[in-house]
């Protein structure tokens, strides 16, 4: 009897429900700002509006991947399973954000650069970021023993983040990128820059804040709860098999 009860979803904490509602509302609000309030870019036209998701999703991925590093370090120090579940949630949410970043960039590049994809260093590094965390998930799936899995993946999560940072750093100092930089000086040969007017800033800042904080935290919390339930059901399955 008690076993089945374990599988019943625990009621969502009030905080989580509030966060979920705020995230949904915030998303709608930033969409509205980006689509209707901000002015149309003179050179690029409507496609420029994709930027209000493109850039925030990139930074949001860092919040999530950062959580993976913190979760990994704390798991290694404390051996509390919860930290590993947070690390896993960080990877999945961060990977989703990184893919959104890649996809929106590609859609934008088609009319502006006249190609879906180019081996520009910036694009390459974004792709590498996705590959590293895809490798994380694949490695994780390949380890049977649970405590070994948690140990290994905590270490891998740390190295993954270090690699992403060093790759970005290396790429940054390469002058040959054509990717525009909106904040700070664009490289000389950047194609597709636009002015950061007050309208752009007004649409960008709320969106950036949303993707940096509320969005990853809410999604990771849901993913964390799902993992907790998955592990409970695995445990029941094992008990049933060993009885």
């Amino acid at each position: 009897m008690t076993r089945i009860a374990e599988l019943e979803p625990a009621p969502q904490p009030r905080m989580l429900r509030v966060l979920t509602a705020l995230t949904a509302l915030g998303f709608l609000a930033t969409l509205y700002l980006g689509l209707f309030v901000a002015g149309t870019d003179i050179e690029q036209g409507e496609i420029q509006r994709i930027f209000y998701i493109h850039m925030p999703s990139f930074f949001g991925a860092f919040t999530a991947f950062g959580a993976t590093v913190v979760g990994g370090l704390l798991y290694l120090a404390r051996k509390n399973d919860a930290w590993d579940r947070i690390a896993l949630a960080g990877v999945e949410v961060g990977l989703a954000f990184a893919l959104i970043n890649l996809l929106t960039g590609s859609i934008w590049a088609r009319p502006i650069w006249n190609t879906w994809w180019t081996w520009d260093p910036r694009l390459t590094s974004a792709a590498v970021m996705c590959l590293i965390y895809a490798a994380y998930l694949m490695l994780r799936a390949g380890i049977d023993d649970l405590s070994r899995k948690r140990n290994f993946m905590s270490v891998y999560g740390i190295f993954a983040f270090v690699s992403v940072l060093t790759t970005l750093f290396i790429i940054r100092i390469v002058p040959e990128t054509i990717h525009p930089v909106i904040v700070g000086a664009s490289p000389q040969n950047a194609q597709g820059s636009f002015e950061a007017t007050s309208g752009v800033v007004m649409a960008l800042v709320p969106s950036l804040l949303l993707w940096l904080t509320l969005m990853p935290i809410t999604l990771m919390w849901h993913r964390y709860r799902l993992e907790t339930r998955k592990e409970a059901s695995d445990r029941l399955m094992l008990q049933a098999l060993s009885d």
């Binding site: 023993d145 649970l146 405590s147 592990e231 695995d234 445990r235 094992l238 060993s242």
Partner: protein
């Protein structure tokens, strides 16, 4: 002080991921004691020995060896422990004497000490003539004997043996019995796990019987009395 407990185990539990293997073990073993660890396959014998050797960390509970707490003070304990595991833990591409020499270095032994002790042990386990042969060419029994030599190399206070009789022929079994007797006389503490009650000595020894991750018997017994207990516990489990 010599008679104080070398091993103290309190409320020791170990789970592999979600599967509990050992549940709340309590026992202590005195210095120089000879303990047989009985149990069916999968009862948690190997896991217990791995925990005692510091190779694996408990999920809950405490282990103290020679007063040092595992796993926190494992480093202090390691030099006192010799383990004969399921697998021989030898390098196939090295000779018998090279293997012993390598492990001697890891235990910080001096060159002449390594040489002397290695030669002595190889002779004792009857491998002198094969000292220069690659371990790859050894039979299961020879590997097992070399593995025992490796475990005794650094003169450990505590000797842990996991199913040491498996794969040994009669002569090798007798040799192992002799070695164990010698180790016992040298006041080494010995824990030996086996699932075969026929290996229990005629004389009475301390026995721990593991079943389903719990200690169901802890006491002195000889082969006959242990057989009865073993059978009873197996019957109790099947019902």
């Amino acid at each position: 002080m010599d008679d104080s407990a070398i091993i103290e185990v309190e409320k020791l539990s170990k789970a592999f991921g979600l599967l509990p293997v050992l549940q709340g073990l309590n026992f202590s073993i005195d210095r120089g004691e000879f303990v047989m660890l009985f149990g069916a396959n999968g009862s948690g014998k190997s896991t217990l020995l791995r925990l005692l050797s510091g190779l694996s960390k408990p999920t809950a509970g405490a282990i103290r060896i020679g007063g040092w707490e595992l796993p926190r003070e494992a480093l202090a304990v390691r030099a006192q422990i010799g383990l004969v595991a399921h697998r021989p833990l030898l390098y196939e591409n090295l000779t018998a004497s090279e293997n012993l020499d390598f492990f001697g270095k890891l235990y910080g032994m001096k060159a002449d000490e390594r040489q002397e002790r290695g030669r002595q042990l190889l002779q004792r386990v009857g491998l002198s003539r094969r000292a220069g042969s690659l371990v790859r060419t050894f039979s299961r029994g020879m590997k097992q004997r070399l593995s025992i030599a490796r475990a005794l190399l650094h003169q450990p206070d505590l000797l842990l043996l996991d199913e040491p009789y498996s794969g040994l022929d009669q002569a090798a079994c007798d040799l192992l019995d002799e070695l164990l007797l010698e180790a016992k006389e040298a006041r080494r503490t010995i824990i030996l796990s086996t699932h075969q009650l026929t290996r229990a000595p005629e004389i009475a020894v301390r026995a721990l019987l593991l079943s389903d991750g719990k200690i169901v018997f802890d006491g002195i017994g000889d082969r006959r009395s242990l057989s009865d207990i073993y059978r009873d516990s197996a019957r109790a489990q099947s019902t």
